[in-house]
Structures are given as C-alpha cells and as structure tokens.
Symmetry: C2
Subunit: 298 residues, 2 copies
Amino acid sequence: MSGCPLSVEGMASVLPASNKSMKSDRNTNVGKKFVHVQNPYLDLMDEDILYHFALGTKTHNLPVMFGDVKFVCVGGSSNRMKAFALRMHKELGCEGDGEEMKDICAGTDRFCMYKTGPVLSISHGMGVPSISVMLHELIKLLYHAQCCDVTIFRIGTSGGIGIEPGSVVITDTAVDSFFKPRFEQVIMDSIVTRSTELDRDLAEELFTCSKDFPHFPTLIGHTMCTDDFYEGQGRLDGALCSYSREKKLDYLKRAYKAGVRNIEMECTVFAAICGRCGIKGDPPGCWTSPDSRNQAQC
Amino acid sequence: MSGCPLSVEGMASVLPASNKSMKSDRNTNVGKKFVHVQNPYLDLMDEDILYHFALGTKTHNLPVMFGDVKFVCVGGSSNRMKAFALRMHKELGCEGDGEEMKDICAGTDRFCMYKTGPVLSISHGMGVPSISVMLHELIKLLYHAQCCDVTIFRIGTSGGIGIEPGSVVITDTAVDSFFKPRFEQVIMDSIVTRSTELDRDLAEELFTCSKDFPHFPTLIGHTMCTDDFYEGQGRLDGALCSYSREKKLDYLKRAYKAGVRNIEMECTVFAAICGRCGIKGDPPGCWTSPDSRNQAQC
C-alpha cells in the first residue's frame, strides 16, 4: 500500500524545530488561510498547555505533529471517532491496518484524538460546554501548528424530525431551541450573541458527494441544538416530564415548520467558535439514527 | 477480609424477580424515602431503556443489581471514578482487591459506572448537558431499583477563588454565572427557573468529618457553575478572549464577595434535578486543584 498523501513523518523533515520560528512564517504564505485565535494574550505566554488534550507547546512539537492537518472530524463518542479514524486510514490508503494508531490524548480521559494523514479525528463528549472546551484547545493546537486551509466537520447521531430514519442531514443553519440562528455565549456575567453561520458552498459540495451513496437518504436542513436530551427535546421518558404528548408534538411541528430537520446538542457553539477562527465551512453533518430512540421524537 | 455490608449478591436472594412486583411494595415501606421520578408517562411504558448506560428494565434486573444502593458519587472523569470505586472497595473491606470490578456501562462509552457494596460511582463528562443526561438516567435507575434513603455527592476538581490551593470546598449553595442560586432549564422553547437548594445539614456533617483530615484545608462556601471553561470563567488562555485581565479580576472579586469560593461546570443542574427526586442532601463537594491551571483564576 502507498504512504499517506501528507503523513506526519513526511512533514517532520521540512518543519523547523520550534514554534517561535514558525510564527515568523505565518504572514509570508500569501493566499493560505491560517487558523487564527482571537486572543491577544496567547502569543505573550511562555507556554500554552492544552489541559484537556494533555499536550503543550513546550512538551510537544505541535507543528511537526499536526502541521499537515487539513480536515478535522469531531464527534461525541470516543469509540466512534476511533472507528472513523480507522476507516479514514483505510480510505486514504495509509500503510498498515491502522491498529497501531495511538490515542494522541492518552494522557487524559477527557477526549480522544487520532491522526491519519491530513485527517484528525477527535471526540468531544456531549453538549455545548464539553465541545466548547475541546474546540478552544483544538483551535489553539491548529494555530500553534501553523495549520492552514483547514475544514472541520462534526459527525454524529441526532434525532430526526419528519424525515426517514437513517437519513443524513447536512446542516445549512444551526439554530437554538427557539429556532434562532444564534449562540448565546456567557462571558463571565455578560451574554454575547454570536452568529452560527455556516458555509453554504461546503454544504452543497457535501450534498453533491452524497449522490454517490444513494442508499443513504441525504438532505440539507436546519439543525437545532438543545442543552438537554430529555426535557429540552420534549422527550416523554426522562426522570422529569411536566408537559403533555400534545405539547411535545406541537413543538416538533413548529420546529419542522421553521426548517429544522434534526436535533442534537452541539451545533450552535461549533458554528460560533469555528466561524471566528478561520476554519473553512464547518457544516455539521448529522446522521439521524434509525433506532426508535431518535425517531420517538418525530 | 469481610464481605461488603450490603453486597449485590447478598440482596439478590431477598429481592423479587421482576420490577412489577416491586412497585406494589413502594408505599408499604413507611418512613423510608424512596427515589421518585416526576413523570406520569414512565410507569405506563412497557420498557424503559437507559440509553446512555446501556441498561434497561427488560434486559436487566435493576432491583437485584442496584436495590441496595445508598450512596452515589459522581464525577467528570471516568478514570477518577474508577479509582474512587477501588478506594471505596478497600475502605468498605469488600472481598478481593477490586481489580475484578467491571464497568457496568461497558456497553457504551458515554459514561462509566462501578458498584461496590452500597456505593455507586459514576462518571458524567463535562458540563451541564452531559451530567443532565446522566442524572435523568441515574434517577430512573434508582427508581426502577426501588432504592430508598439515597445520598448523592458530586466530587471533582474546580477552580478556587481566594482560597488555598488543594482546599476542599463543600458547597452550601450552587449559583450560576450571575451569582444567583438558580438553574434555568430550557424545556422545549420555554425557560423554567429551578431552585438549586442543597442540604445544609449534610454540608455541616461533611465539614465535621473533614476535621479528621486536617491536612486537607476544608471550608463550606458557594460554588459557581459556568457553561464554559474559558470565556465563561474569564480565562486569558482560550482561543477567544475579548476582555482584559482587569475585567477578569474584577469579576472574580465580585464572585468572592458574593460568597463564591470555587467554580466548576455542573453544580446547578445537579442540585436542581436531585432535589426534585427525593435524593437526600446532594451538596457537591468540590476539590480545588493545587495546579497552576485552577489557581490562575484566583
């Protein structure tokens, strides 16, 4: 089998040894879109520790380890993200069966991370706060590694609304529980409303790709993000349920009317953070699950 | 070594084989405080699947497996909750070294769960949405298992404010980012404000216990819950930071003045859900970490 198109090993020889020398190169690569941070304090720090990845700028050579990353795929479950990495390893025609692939974040149990060629696969747990921690550290990792022209996807199961079980929903707009395309970020004791705009061209490109896989019903639609799996999504089987089946159905009908085709728990903050840091596109692609759990809310 | 005071095996012989027959006993145990749900639909369901635990009422005999549970300890990290279970196994004088202890939720990678004697140890990931999913299913589990007189604790690292690194904070009041003792639960597109009251007597009892361990500075104080680790807690080392060091310090000073002694990401929903379901006390006990990460915000 042939080597990966852009392997970690292949990049090592052409990258300088320290972060400092990389930083000066950042503005000389005209036409490239570098991942950036929006934090004036970061470059003043002697060391940046990515706590929840168990990585750091002094302990790890991030440009060598991650400089060639072009695609980042994130999902809630650690098992699934390992399976995804193994699948990508095979699809890219990388050497070996991938079983030797190590969890780069093995020093912590917060998240797991696998890399194969230019593809990084990372888990993020459940809900906005959990993925938010991961995204802050991911973006700093890509920034320190001088990554450019990076595209990020979120993949995961979700609850479908009025669509065929097992469908793939490519998100065009991430909306909150009130069907609004916004993310309310609490910064200490202030609330800042951020845009959840996504790259429509990328959504269309993914939709075009889906035509090669007609056995997966695929559509473009709005994805709704909730902060709770049970009451937040109107489920009738939580420990707490103070509403009627009719009220639940009315809510889901109104969501459908507003363009929502599936519900998950991370898309608004995903769109809000990635969009501000120069990462192309970022439409979450959410697979609705064919099991009864998710369809119960349709 | 002696057996556990209330082992799973010991209970099996005195418990009936099905959930149905247990339900009729629920009201005959006068003086016992049973864990309850607030959902009229639950008893009408033929089967209740606890999706994120990979357990269910038809596939598992929950009264036999969990009927003797009296203490539940929850924390974010799966490794730590396994270590805690092993520690409890030893402290309780259970047979064996505990290494044979199995993750009861091995069928999923969402959470992990260990049981030793009457103590259940469960991980919940990071943030309100993640622990909320776990708590709904935990309470249903305890309800189906006919558990009574259960006390639940949350243990975990947190960021201290104006206290000695490594201190243990026993929470008397869980407050939100605005220093208010409330949890705003979004139920579909409505917002319901819930109380985050905790059991003061239990907090005092824990504080009394702490006197046996004078090498851990221990205090009772308010714990603040945020939905974000970086901007939410005023950190200066996230991918996004739009505020000054002075503004951060001003916020932390105001938090201290309001009685807040530590910050974490789960306590308000923990108090709100457990308090409604008949679980005694539930003061989260939060250990402030002695590392520089957490003290950076002091």
